[in-house]
Amino acid sequence: MANKRIELEQYRYYVDLVKEEPPRKRARTGAVWAMVVAILLALMILVLGTLSNGLAKNKRNVLEKPPAPASSATQSGQFQNGTQLPNGTQIPGGTQIPGGTQIPGGQSPGGGERVAAPATEAKAMKTLPGVFAQADSSPLQIQTSSSPSSSPSSAPKGKQLSTETKNIGNLGNVANGAGGKGFGLYLIVLFIMIGVVMYLGIRRLGKEAKKR
């Protein structure tokens, strides 16, 4: 009786296997399909990364906070970071700023790209005391938690600890390297590596199929 029971248990296991495990050819096709999708995933990241190359070059991008709500953008003639000026806005003194120009440090709510205002406009902004004072003095809010940072208690006395990542720690440094193509090159190298790994997997499956 006990033997019969064991036999039945084993039989049930094989039934489960047949139900769960697909035929070899089908499994191989599926695996190749999944690996091709993985290459497409890497391609998607490459494309999205290329689109955001401009952002990556901004060394302080990752430390930046989202823009302030539009309702509190202007207070008694002062502009906050991230305020976008409407087309043809005149600033006291006669300087006219083209539509969509951003005050340094902020960004337009619609997109992720952070493009600094052209140098001439930036100059014009600097010549307006009071109006852009805030933008000049503290263009960005920096997360003090970013590496290698410290709590005031643990910091050595008289030594100012950096609030920014440095060297390889900062993505901006990599992005600005190789003539501004660092980020693109980094992504392309990784994409090729992933492609090669996936190709090796597909080739291995093909060889196995031929053997059988």
Binding site: Y13, D16, E20, E21, P22, R26, A27, R28, T29, G30, A31, V32, W33, A34, M35, V36, V37, A38, L40, L41, A42, M44, I45, L46, L48, G49, L51, A56, V62, K65, P66, P67, A70, G82, P109, G111, G112, E113, Q143, S145, S147, P148, S149, S150, S154, A155, T165, K166, G169, N170, L171, F183, L187, L190, F191, I194, V197, L200, G201, R204
Partner: protein, 244 residues
Amino acid sequence: MKANVIVFEVATFILFIAMYIGSSRALGRVRNRDFLFGSAAFALVIYSVAVAGGMMNFFWYSTNAYYKHYVLGGYIIWLGVVPLAVLLLFYMVSMASYLVASAFTSNVWKRSAIAGGIGALFYLMIEPVAITNHWWVWNAKTFYILDVPLFAWIGVFLAVFAFTACYQLTVIEKADPKWLKPVEDRVKSLLLKTKNPTIGLEHNKLAEVYAWRLFAALVAFGIVMTPVLIVLWVLANRGPIPGW
């Protein structure tokens, strides 16, 4: 078209469907479903703990002026404090890594290590693009490489390694490792109400064993990662190390 969160999410959903169809053919429907739920739950716990601990967040698009342009906080579907797209991304990465690793070796540990390495390779590509576009934001006091915490790179390898090992041992091989037996026997009899070896279990019971082992894998992941986090945090707070 900008690489904002909506583009990322929609592209991830589309690729997920394609990946799900392919991996269903590769592993079988039931096993693939187990992989999907297992990996999503595994990633959900890790990400939720990371968010709760203030190490990272996914809320950049849901704050201030962005909220008006990206309703529901940028991402469309959330599971608690973690967007679904991020969990599906982990599923796709771990599935691709697992399938490639399976083509090279049949040993569980070697397979998991290769899968972990390939997973880390994927995240080496994903993380910098993600933090550049604020799909998620890292916020921990630690050492950073390419503005991504060092522990995140280590964590990805360990997470894929632990998950694929757990999946392979439980769902594919239905093995009962000796080193797990002392603890697992008690859990099986107390919680799962069975004493049968894993190989003879029906799928429902097997799913329970799988859930318990995923929990054990998460605990093991936590035990390994906690000292890493603490050491890096302590070192980072002593002041800047030249070259970092």
